[in-house]
């Protein structure tokens, strides 16, 4: 049989992107804001989300979709705050995709939800390539990781709506230059907000809380 060439010109992540757009429309129809929180492992995603829940649990109805490569204690930490946490176990997979998020959304009562956090897999390499249907991307970079990470993982920082520089309470012990860092981010991504914070001590968290309030209202 003769060989013929089929023109395809289709994005490999196209199916995921379509599913992500469906997720966003579903959330919009229920007036729910979904924020995708991404960072390396150990940068403080769970601490940030826990602290944010404590701030807003009397004001907004919050759910958390937890991505984990294996069962972990993260979901338990979140549920201690009387917030619904759905655990997605990727069995070693390095990112979440829009279909996994859809399955999680289908288990939530979206009419009784205002705000959903996705705690993505701890990984700066590929998580940002997969649109999940979130409205906003929040990226955490912690002081011990170093201020050169935007150059090593540019896509992550280009896709960020908010960059949270966490663990500023230990900045005296590390070389992270907080003066020049905002210039690195705004050079790559002029619209990104940059908030130095400590999810542990609460330092700087007010601006992050205000941003959530503004985005929800």
């Amino acid at each position: 049989m003769a060989v013929r060439t089929l023109t395809v010109k289709e994005n490999i992540l196209g199916a995921n992107n379509e599913k992500a757009e469906e997720n966003r429309k579903l959330l919009d129809s229920h007036h729910v804001l979904m924020i995708n929180v991404m960072s390396s492992s150990g940068s403080g995603k769970t601490s940030l989300i826990t602290r944010t829940i404590q701030q807003f649990r009397d004001k907004y109805r919050i759910a958390v979709i937890e991505g984990n490569v294996s069962p972990s204690i993260d979901a338990e930490k979140i549920t201690q705050n009387n917030v619904l946490a759905i655990q997605l176990n990727t069995s070693g997979g390095c990112h979440l995709d829009a279909q996994m998020i859809r399955k999680a959304l289908d288990t939530l009562d979206l009419d009784r939800t205002d705000l959903i956090f996705i705690e993505n897999i701890g990984n700066l390499v590929c998580t940002a390539d997969f649109d999940l249907g979130a409205h906003k991307n929040a990226v955490i970079l912690s002081i011990p990781e170093g201020d050169d990470k935007p150059y090593k993982y540019p896509v992550m920082f280009v896709e960020a709506d908010v960059v949270l520089v966490n663990k500023v309470d230990v900045r005296a012990h590390f070389d992270f230059n907080l003066d020049t860092f905002p210039g690195i981010i705004s050079g790559m991504n002029p619209s990104a907000r940059i908030y130095p914070i400590s999810a542990k001590t609460g330092e700087g968290m007010d601006r992050w809380f205000s941003w959530i309030d503004e985005t929800l209202n």
Partner: protein, 113 residues
């Protein structure tokens, strides 16, 4: 593990297109891969060999066209290639840099029988 789901998507896209064209076998798939995607050929080939078993894509060759990272200075508008991790304009030394190339990830075309 990154490549496993990418390969799953490549395979589904290729099989859908082959089916629409009433193809009996996929001979080769021509992929366009930007350097920023971090997609590794060896890993794609490995997972493709495994996942395409018992499909009409079994034994198909994957050809890669790599697209280098390309940057644009937002101030002087010049284009320059990504070199090392240097996000600085070679002309004005500015750091207001936009990524304009290297994030591609698509099937250009494929040969079928």
């Amino acid at each position: 593990m990154h490549e496993q789901s990418i390969v799953q998507s490549i395979l589904e896209l290729a099989l859908n297109n082959a089916e629409k064209a009433n193809a009996r076998r996929i001979v080769c798939i021509n992929l366009v891969v930007g350097d920023y995607t971090g997609v590794q050929e060896d890993a794609v080939n490995f997972y493709f060999g495994f996942l395409s078993q018992n499909t009409i894509a079994a034994g198909a060759k994957i050809n890669y066209t790599h697209v280098p990272g390309q940057l644009r200075c937002r101030d002087c508008d010049i284009l320059f290639p990504l070199q090392k991790h240097d996000y600085q304009c070679p002309k004005c030394d500015g750091k207001r840099i936009e990524i304009v190339g290297g994030r591609e990830l698509y099937i250009e075309n494929m040969d079928v029988e």
